[in-house]
Amino acid sequence: MLTFTIRRLLLSIPTLLFISLAIFMLLQLSPGDPMAQVPLTVPPEVKEKMREALGLGQPVYVQYWKWLVQFFWIEPLVFVDWATANTWWAGWLPDTGFAEGKLRVISWQTRGPVMDLVIQSLPQTFWVVGMSYVVGVAIALPIGIYSAYRHYSVFDQTGTFVTMIGFSIPPFFTGPLMIWIFAVQLGWLPSKYNTVLDVVDWDTFVLQMKQMVLPVMVLALQTTAQISRYMRSAMLDNLKQDYVRTARAKGLKEGVVVMVHVLRNSMIPVITVIALGIPAIFGGAIITENVFAVNGLGYQLLIALFASDIPTVMTFTFIFAILIVLFNLIADVLYGVLDPRIRYD
């Protein structure tokens, strides 16, 4: 398994390079213009000059090469500079100035480093999207397990009904609905997410929790629905297997049978879905973030897409791709752990 993991990690590098090229070509092909949001009152000649200043006139391969160098060489240097200057674990090293005077990956909208956008948006994304995922998974697993165990019970039927309705109603509707109920009518919760709230004491913590409730609820509904369905169906498949009968016949406690034997064998599809979902946290929740003005990574990516801000889109998507490749690799490794018969070599 270790050799498999190392081999796959090494193979990930050319894979990711290829993916970055594919993303770049896709963005080049896609119609769109960074000047689309500049008002029509700005004459075309000026827009043309602005495009030139962004480096749009350069040949495609030059633009791609520039991005590659900036992302894979200069950004890590910036990180090293930052680490040697500001952190406890590398601060004892002499301050380096490797990246001084070098051009980082610069967004066309903000003219600032894209990485700063990522760092700026990460906290709210983790608070909201990450938390909703944790909540969603934490609710979905027990629901899925118990629904399958008590197949066609009232609990199962209700669970099915609620999760399926929850899944088929899109967040662009549930978001405003929640705002209307909890923020407008009841006035309990804020409708907008305050990204500059510093959690320093109990009161601010309560405020933070309050503003997270609505977006987390909307998002967790989708996650819960999806994962609990897969969990339930996999459990159902396994509960009827002969090994379950054997285990029971051996006199194992019911809890052990279900939670150890059946659950372990049912985790494979669920692990797959969860592994696909974790990178999606980084991708953000575009609609929900927009409704609640969370302005996390999803929102940043969305407006970068609409503004045809290629360096930003490229960087965000590529980090997303790294996570996809990584988590799918983790899932593959986990399959082997869950079911030792699965071998890759």
């Binding site: 894979t15 109603i169 899109p170 509707f173 498949d237 002969d242 064998n265 079911d339």
Partner: protein, 323 residues
């Protein structure tokens, strides 16, 4: 631990038949009929399909016909508790802000949504299952197919849509006419961008299944790979596929509305359930029925497909049958 489980093909595991033997199809049908949810779901799906297919012949009002004087009418039941409500039998479900009849919009919209939903879902399932099975079963294909899946997962959706439109819209609408052309484009785009999860799940299950005894046994007696896939693997990955199908239908119906918002979908005056829902969200507190009705139709359709999937899975599972 599963190594100790008895061979599932052990004939002794089957109960001793009490009734004369029946064919497999009859068995499946009998089992399916016993599943109340599945029957209800099937009934509802049939009703909805008829509703959108024959509906326009019974309720002949055109969905795109505007009548600005009759705008913002309420459903007829509103008249029961409010005398001021603007209601009328000519628009039993009310009208929208431009005076388009809600009932005919739901019928017309249902046609598009159901067609897109089913077609895109089936396309995505076929792709996902094919990639998943091939990649799980044939070691040589695994790496390349799964890296391709990673690639597809990483590509941002919006540029894909815009590229697809730029490249194909004019050609498709020229060859097939506007609406069919758009339909093909939408189904293609949704199908091609949503198969990856199914593929990953199916592959994971196949990876585990192909090491199980019955598959090894099939191998050892010289069964050809194609046969193993269709006889032994596919029936055993059916339940996650069913779940994917249900979720996929909902996703396809909703995605369609997002596409028309981006100008990638049907023309703006062409109603679909997803678009009716999206358009009504702004006036959700003024006219709740306009979000409620399409929302309900989408949910019930998805729910009934889910129940049918459940029933089908139970019916196809020999271990469930006869219980």
């Amino acid at each position: 631990m599963t190594d100790t489980s008895p061979n599932p093909n052990d004939p002794l595991a089957e109960p001793i038949p009490l009734a004369p033997p029946t064919s497999q199809t009859q068995d499946i049908w009998r089992q399916f009929k016993q599943h109340k949810g599945a029957v209800l779901g099937g009934g509802f799906l049939m009703f909805i399909t008829l509703f959108v297919l024959i509906g326009p012949f019974i309720w002949t009002l055109e969905a795109t016909k505007l009548d600005i004087r009759a705008k913002d009418m309420r459903p007829i039941v509103w008249g029961l508790w409010s005398d001021e409500a603007k209601v009328g039998w000519n628009h039993p479900f009310g009208t929208d802000q431009l005076g388009r009849d809600l009932l005919s919009q739901m019928i017309e919209g249902g046609r598009a949504s159901m067609a897109v939903g089913w077609a895109a879902m089936i396309l995505s399932l076929l792709l996902g299952t094919a990639v998943g099975v091939l990649s799980g079963f044939f070691k040589r294909l695994d790496f390349i197919l799964m890296r391709f899946t990673d690639l597809m997962l990483s590509l941002p959706l919006l540029p894909i849509l815009l590229v697809a439109v730029t490249l194909f819209r004019e050609k498709l609408s020229k060859t097939f006419g506007i609406e069919t052309g758009m339909f093909i484009l939408i189904v293609g785009v949704i199908g091609i961008t949503s198969w990856m999860q199914t593929a990953r799940i199916v592959r994971a299950d196949v990876l585990a299944l192909k090491e199980r005894e019955f598959v090894l046994a099939a191998h050892s007696i010289g069964t050809r790979p194609g046969k193993i896939i269709t006889r032994h693997l596919l029936p055993n990955v059916l339940s996650p596929i069913m779940v994917s199908a249900t979720l996929g239908l909902a996703v396809a119906i909703i995605t369609e509305s997002a596409l028309s918002f981006l100008g990638v979908g049907f023309p703006s005056d062409f109603p679909t359930w997803g678009k009716l829902l999206a358009d009504a969200v702004q006036r959700m507190n003024l006219y709740p029925e306009r979000v409620f009705l399409p929302g309900l139709l989408i949910s019930l359709t998805v729910l009934s497909v889910n129940y049918i999937g459940d029933g089908l899975r139970d019916a196809l599972d020999p271990r469930m049958r006869g219980r």
